[in-house]
Amino acid sequence: MKYKRCLHCGAVNYYQDEVCRRCEGDIRLDKKRAISTSLAFLLSAIFFYIPANLFPILNTSKFAQTQGSTIIGGVIELWKEGDYPVAIIIFLASVLIPIIKFFVLFYLLYAVYKGSCESGKVKLYHIMEIMGPWSLIDVFVVMVLVGLIHFNSVSVIPGVGATSFALMVLFTILSAKALDPRLIGEECE
């Protein structure tokens, strides 16, 4: 193995180089550092998953009566009202996908640790990378609703869960970014 690709700009560099010749980005292939950084972010993400689901992400106040709604609570309510498809979509997007992402990240971390080479894992990594920020939809929807609905009679205020949810997604993105796709399969010939 004589060459490696810079992840920032795509330039080809010599394998032993530490700084990209073109964009001056960091191109070190450090397995140990990648694993420990990624694992630290992943554990933080899992930690924030708990308050994100326990606390309401949205507070609705109607005539001075405040009512909080958690993600699970919202799903159950939708289910009871008979909105099965919407309930299932929200359950999948907000509850299940974060958990799946945790498992996939653990799996990829293990793959990097073992140094196993399979192109399927690189594909999995790229799917993770693209999917990552889309979980923020929940947080942004809360932002839009809060920005729009503040009437005298009804108003929407974000809950503690929204902050935790945003932090959880942020840490999952950072965890995925800390993993180097070149360590999973690109460098395996």
């Binding site: 690709r5 080809v12 010599y14 964009c23 001056e24 923020l136 939809i137 839009v144 974000p158 690109e186």
Partner: protein, 205 residues
Amino acid sequence: MEDLKNLVICPRCGSLHKRIKLSSPKESARCWRCNKLLYRGYKGLEYQLLSFTFTALILFTLANLFPIVEIDIGGGVKSRMVLLEALLFLYKQGFLFISLFGLLVLEVFPLITILSLFLFSLFVVLGTHKEGAKKALIVAGRLSEWNMLDIFFISILVAMVKIYEYAYIDFGVAFWSMAFFVGIEIYLFRYIKLSQMWDLWEQKF
């Protein structure tokens, strides 16, 4: 020793290729093993970038000056949302982290990304400021990863689905400006791609 500029590594499977010169914009180079696109043969890419980023800057201004949506819940009770106002409101409610995060990924980063890409293409067209163009491209590359206006745009639609039963919804000028801004962003970073812009920089200077 092979000149590094004449080599390409496939981003998907890591195969090493020798770069060949493409003569027409219709041609593209693909990986021999996994068929992943490596680069395209653009002509006058810098002019395309310049016009797109300039348009994007105008659209960004419009998207922030005007309300994105206006809702009417009946009885003359109306409400409208301007992005910066919404972020300020969140901040006043005590949600420092979310408002700051939103300010960065929805306002600051998208603006700086497009602005530096605009400067980059301007420098390339003028043929001056080799180092300045490089710095601009580095900034654009690093910040484009933290650009989340596209996700926010879909979120607006999701939020509207939640309230359309209770209110009359009117999409404002800013909504459409944002839609086209996001479209340009996707075209620049997902279709043209940064590596192609770096190749352009290497060819011109």
